[in-house]
């Protein structure tokens, strides 16, 4: 089955995100005063083949643990769908 997956990698709560801070500061500097905190994460789109969605999810979990996220400081979330 041809699937398309999205992996969202975000810094764990409590880990300082200087990039997010800079973005939120710059936005306010540009006059977007309504902006509060900002946090920046990564967003990985993958094409993959798998027997079914559950199998894909399992493999994606392994990919995240081994490579796509650094679990010391990051959390991840997986979405799987049919390929567009």
């Amino acid at each position: 089955m041809k699937l398309s997956a999205k992996v969202y990698v975000t810094l764990k709560r409590g880990v300082l995100d200087p990039q997010g801070q800079a973005v939120s500061r710059s936005l306010r500097g540009l006059g977007f005063d309504e902006v509060g905190d900002a946090r920046i994460g990564k967003f990985i789109e993958l094409e993959l083949d798998a027997p079914d969605e559950a199998a894909a999810r399992k493999r994606l979990g392994e990919m995240c643990e081994r490579l796509l996220s650094n679990t010391v400081i990051e959390d991840y979330r997986i979405e799987v769908g049919a390929r567009a």
Partner: protein, 232 residues
Amino acid sequence: MNFAVVRFPGSNCDQDAVHAVVDVLGQPGGLAWHKDRELPPATDCVIVPGGFSYGDYLRAGAMAAQSPIMAAVRAFAERGGPVLGICNGYQILTEARLLEGALTRNASLKFVCKDVHVKVEGQGTPFSRGLAGRVLRMPIAHAEGRFVHPDLPAFERTGRVIFRYVSAAGALDDDANPNGSSAAIAGTCNAAGNVVGLMPHPERACETLLGSADGRALFDTVLGAFAAGGCA
């Protein structure tokens, strides 16, 4: 003492490390290839060099940490062999979980290249024995060198902080911390003390012609430990 410098795709301080140990210190040594499953025979010390392995894509060090050679480096470390990770090498060792913590984007969000001073704290490693209290001047060149640890207080109590950024006079101060590292941490070791990583580049500070020879102290120390009958 036979040095193996691991070469990953995108390593760019591999030749500098070879230059430091072979040309400057006169030791035997050479490159080890990332796709190999074994270190070169008779390796006495492994250097995981600086650079941009895999372009620093995704996270610095993440892909290199998964290379075939890293299993051999891990086995070498478990046998007590001395391993030094410099800059990207330090990032690789943390990604490989041979060292704790993580190296994240500099607080300034910019790459920074300049001389810094670090103070040697822990001396229970083959690269720092007898150096405690010394302030060394070495260059840094990185964009992701901000050390973080999920449980810093506990980590501090383990005594595994080996180098901290300080002023030229040896004082802790915020201006001397070039990347916003927690507790100004510049280098750490593993529980056994034989695996050491640091962001500054000792191999770029081995000749006065290039600005500083302070980095030699790390290599001289490991050579001394080796001569005295082993490093572990």
